[in-house]
Symmetry: C3
Subunit: 261 residues, 3 copies
């Protein structure tokens, strides 16, 4: 897509989140900083109605409960019917049996257009032998690119594996995004924010693989710009929001580091 | 009221919140920055007891559930009995049927002293034809000042409509507050914070219309001062807290922009 | 312990939290800034499993519900079995009957290794006559050092009373920590963060009294360094995270203010 950021800022898509209680504020705020409109509504009585007036749905199981999973499925069904993109951030899959089961329940009940996680979360979802340390990736034995590509093909979905290098695949095309900075890992929530940004970009671009790749490039570039001015996680987070707010498609074009394989 | 900020800082009122999970931290923190003491307690077993030791109650339905609404009603009943001010921030009314119904349930069950929302939320509550885009106002066909004034009169409450210009009315007096800055809309939660500040000011001033007007003036002035030093939402939020912390009644007096109609 | 911070940064302990919805993000973020890995998981179906792969458990009853308390007890039982440290932050005990009862339920059901609260919270837990203003300490009539020491002895636990001076006692040794800065009280959540830090330090040091003392010294030193550069709660919080991130055992050694009694 030519100017995704300009498009988001002009169309101001409503991005419905059912997400965790740790980073919910940052998911909302980064969505706003990119120019989209966040809304968070998890009650089973209204979640599907909120999805129906939205342009994307972002699900994040960081602090899941059975009730929240039920609401996610209600909302995703409404999103599937409306044909708006659904992003699942599979936080902590590989850490407990309950997370593995609930993620499987979602994937077995509704269509997820973009499945996102760190290396061990996606590997676990894809049936590989993998464990997650709480919500932190551990090293996996399988080849991550192969895992992403094959899992994407088997699900007919876009798969996003985040890490030092991000891997995005729809089973045919595979992008490696090398933008980003180590300080992004010094604050909690950049992974969750990435899912919100992917939802925002996918609401504006029907090629979800391209949208997810762009989302991670734009966020990574903002992170690089912010890191130049920062001495720790406090200043980094402040600068990250300022850089996202002042980002432009032109600025990103000169800094993107993407390989297609 | 002569020196509302000085009064709050001297009396340190306890402001009980039952609020949403997105901006709960900022509601607590801005309450503290103004000099009041925030407490958040939503369990049905204790919420009324917490209200009984408080000086104001702030309700915000941003991430409502049926259980949370029940707790709000329990707490508001306790507040009504103790005759402390109750603020309702009608977040997202006009977006889903459930929100409309739950807001009506609250308004039908207990006395709300100050009803706050953006233009479309208040218009919807007042029975006008209005829709809310998630939690964002959309333009309304009715005259907002007339809506605020008549809704206030019909409810015998103070009505606060926030937007580029804030409208505060008790049905007789109507204030237009023109303080504030565009960057306040670049971060999520300034609307929710405003409700917390209104609660803090109302705990110190029995003229709730005057208190709500003052709250928005003080917050708006802090926003203007913060904006001068900020280049985006990250730095703006930092500066906003610093400016609120260093605000004084004297400083605000020279900057207030209020019309009475 | 010689170099607790270096140890935490090398071992990256997983610190499981079941905590409140107000400061949950800051609990996670400060844990990360100190070099440990935070995870928050409260669902009854998985909380014990998450504790089983963790190195410490931090419980905080700030926004408690009956269900959350049940999850806390499930997790603490798993922690007791695994012999990893359990920290209880008794937020708001002394404010409502429900909090008093739920704290008593936890203390009667599982072993709590480190009991933390402000002066009035701990005094109330210890059976003294005390009231808490929401979540803020009020002055207590009893001698706080004596309360901490005797309560620690009676429970065979470490007791941490936070305030202008922090008191840490295991019933035999009593430490008074005088590090810290007034600006720490200008932001919401430093008390909750302190519990997360205590959990992180205790995961690395089997002498929990020493660990709790170190945690408060390190946090207090970071607060002092941050305050030098700050003009209000906004800048203070940014600088606090940067200072924690850039802290070292060497830096702290030159600034610690501890008395042993």
């Amino acid at each position: 897509m030519k100017n995704p950021l300009k498009t988001i800022r002009e169309t101001k898509p409503l991005v419905h989140h059912i997400t965790n209680w740790v980073t919910i504020y940052d998911c909302a705020n980064i969505t706003r900083a990119f120019g989209a409109l966040p809304v968070m509504a998890h009650a089973s009585e209204e979640c599907a109605d909120m999805t129906k007036i939205s342009s994307a749905l972002v699900l994040n199981i960081g602090t899941l409960t059975s009730e929240i999973i039920d609401s996610m499925i209600l909302s995703a069904a409404a999103a599937n019917e409306k044909k708006i993109p659904v992003v699942l951030d599979a936080v902590g899959v590989g850490a407990t049996k309950f997370r593995d089961e609930m993620a499987a329940k979602i994937l077995g009940s509704v269509r997820i257009d973009i499945i996102k996680g760190n290396y061990s979360e996606i590997a676990k979802l894809a049936g590989e032998n993998a464990e997650t340390k709480g919500v932190e990736a551990t090293s996996i034995s399988a080849d991550p690119e192969k895992v992403a590509k094959e899992f994407a093909k088997s699900r007919s979905s876009v798969v996003v594996m985040t890490g030092k290098e991000d891997i995005i695949s729809d089973g045919n095309r595979t992008f490696i995004v090398k933008n980003g900075h180590g300080l992004m890992g010094s604050i909690v929530g950049t992974g969750c924010m990435a899912a919100s940004i992917i939802g925002s970009f996918a609401s504006a671009n029907p090629d979800y693989c391209d949208a997810a790749k762009d989302a991670l490039v734009y966020f990574g570039v903002a992170g690089e710009l912010a890191a130049e001015k920062s001495i720790g996680p406090g200043s980094f987070k402040v600068n990250l929001y300022d850089e996202v707010f002042n980002l432009s498609d032109e600025k990103v074009r000169g800094m993107m580091k993407v390989e297609e394989r």
